[in-house]
Symmetry: C2
Subunit: 371 residues, 2 copies
């Protein structure tokens, strides 16, 4: 990692070559193997080790995404057959391992929103604990979650308003319905992830990563080929995609764009979200490319971080809104439940719009402050 001290903005800086990429990939492969060891030690399914197991899965995904991203951005420097075999396997792994956490944060986001929309302010201590321990992604004020819902197994036996932290019966039933549906999905995702980690497919990936930790299949020319042009191309793909976003609309608050198809009969009513999701992925690839350039030790770019956070929020709100709409299609729900889910859906679409505004603001700042 001799290149750690390089300044990429310095035109007299040393040329960063495939050697640096090799070191970065070896480091990420080592991280992957460490996370795998952590996962095996904590068992992945015992109650005591549940939190460590979640962390292990998170670390596995973290390095899998970085290896996969580097394979994409720096493709010309790596053995083509090996890259083509490796990337879909890493994508499968990180997708499979990510689902459980995605369902968990989606449920948290929706329950927090239901409580916010109910104007609930009561804070039983145990509920705060649950929220404090569990809400990594929510970033909202703590409100009683499980406490309000813990005695509820379904809409049929919802408890009275007063017992559930001031949730209306409709909001309580909507929360119970979402909890049932998303907990079921999460449990399934957990089983699928455990199965995946025990599969021969996974062992084949792990073996390849173990080889990568000591030997990166660079092309013969790679050690003397510069990384910067490829990293610049990744950045250009990002800026091109951002230039195609409707940023003028997004920067105009309360433009009411995000909810425009809130009641559309179209089964996939929000194609408008697609370009934003795409920018989120391109921003991540750009960030990983910068990491590789700096030997895994790139300076923190607060503007990129803010833009990335806005796009994560956009993705989370978009998926939460879809989950609320999906839950409203459950047969035989009460009108009050459906009404609460409608309010919740619109609230999350409004969050989508807010996230686009936040991205526009963050990106504007970036454009202004880098002359």
């Amino acid at each position: 990692m001799a290149q750690q001290h390089l300044d990429p903005t310095d035109p007299t800086a040393e040329v960063v070559t495939g050697d640096t990429l090799g070191a970065y990939l070896r480091a990420q492969a080592t991280e992957f193997l460490r996370a795998l060891r952590l996962h095996r030690e904590t068992g992945g399914s015992t109650a005591a080790g549940a939190e460590e197991s979640v962390d292990a899965a998170r670390l596995l995904r973290r390095s899998a995404r970085r290896i996969s991203g580097s394979l994409h951005t720096f493709r010309p420097l790596l053995d083509a057959d090996w890259s083509e075999e490796m990337r879909p396997e890493l994508a499968w792994l990180s997708g499979t391992l990510g689902l459980e956490h995605a369902y968990e944060t989606r449920l948290e986001r929706l329950l927090l929103a239901l409580h916010r929309l109910s104007g609930a302010t009561v804070l039983p201590a145990q509920a705060v604990d649950v929220v404090a321990a569990g809400s990594r992604a929510a970033g909202a004020a703590p409100v009683p979650l499980k406490a309000a819902l813990e005695n509820t197994s379904g809409p049929a036996n919802a408890t009275p308003t007063a017992e559930r932290g001031n949730l209306t019966v409709g909001a309580a039933k909507a929360g119970a319905l979402l909890e049932r549906q998303l907990t079921l999905a999460r449990t399934r995702a957990h089983s699928t992830a455990l199965q995946a980690l025990g599969s021969s497919r996974f062992h084949a990936v792990a073996d390849k990563v173990a080889v990568l930790a000591s030997e990166v299949p660079l092309t013969p020319a790679a050690p003397t080929t510069g990384l910067r042009p490829l990293a610049a191309a990744a950045e250009e793909r990002l800026t091109d995609a951002i230039a195609a976003l409707p940023l003028v609309v997004a920067g105009n608050p309360y433009n009411a764009e995000a909810l425009v198809h809130g009641l559309s009969p179209d089964p996939s009513p929000h194609p408008q979200d697609g370009p934003w999701h795409q920018v989120r992925l391109l921003l991540r690839l750009h960030r990983y490319a910068q990491e590789a350039l700096h030997g895994g030790n790139s300076p923190v770019d607060v503007r990129l971080l803010a833009a990335g956070r806005a796009l994560n929020r956009h993705r989370d709100a978009s998926e939460a809104a879809a989950a609320a709409a999906q839950a409203a299609r459950t047969p035989r729900i009460a009108p009050a439940t459906a009404y609460a889910l409608g309010v919740l859906h619109a609230d999350q679409r409004h969050e989508v719009e807010a996230a686009r505004f936040a991205f526009q603001q963050a990106w504007q700042k970036q454009t202004v402050s880098t002359p």
Copy 2:
């Protein structure tokens, strides 16, 4: 009206006294009588004269509000007994005459929102005509309204999606339900207004206004007492009320404040709207006071107009959101209908939030540009 040319910002300007107020009140009373004549000529209930009748009612309310506002602001200059008798009668009249129009614009606003939320873009010519003729308050792009709903008498016989301008069945049923409820309310308001205009109570008011048109009951000191201190007090009440508004929050886009009680079990969940409604009334009183100062011919203050428009939008959206929530409490509605009403309610509460933002922006501009 010798004072029409006075510049109120000129410190050397003539003192504006009760005489000017007298002229203003006589002029408003004359307008009232003219509107009443127009109403009687157009009949108020024949099909051909419906639009003129609406205009007559609007003009009656316009002058009633101005007389009532002046009685309030310039109370010390007017005969106390007469004022105290007159004001509640004018308030009753303008409230009674305003309801029909309020229900009409509320329905328009809600149907336009339903179409926007359905992503409907088809524009049958007759629907555009209906919208163009009827949507004074909406200010949104024309979309098919009546055309989409005209064959619907209730949720039970909703027509298929394709036939109703791409409205989903839920949105179509919600629209039909709202149309039924608000049309009924409007019809009742129309009858009540007609009854009121034929009542002896109204004739007593009209007689008093007829006297006012020639003889204003000023106090003996009024003709030599200045109006400016009383107008300044009205302005101060306005600025004090605005200073108490949460303008910092309102100026922060997507603050999610307006929907905070969207699912609250509280039967009147939006006390937060109250102070904004109050500012709307105080702004109107301030505007009428300025009119009186200028003998009914005050210069157009675009900033006050923008602020007033934002507060009208706030009031309209607040009441539309409440109507959607109210409709969702109709017994035996389908879950899809309730869901659409939930989305609609949240959409209108966002409009409330957007209106507060717009007011904050307009008011900010005012503060900055008047040193």
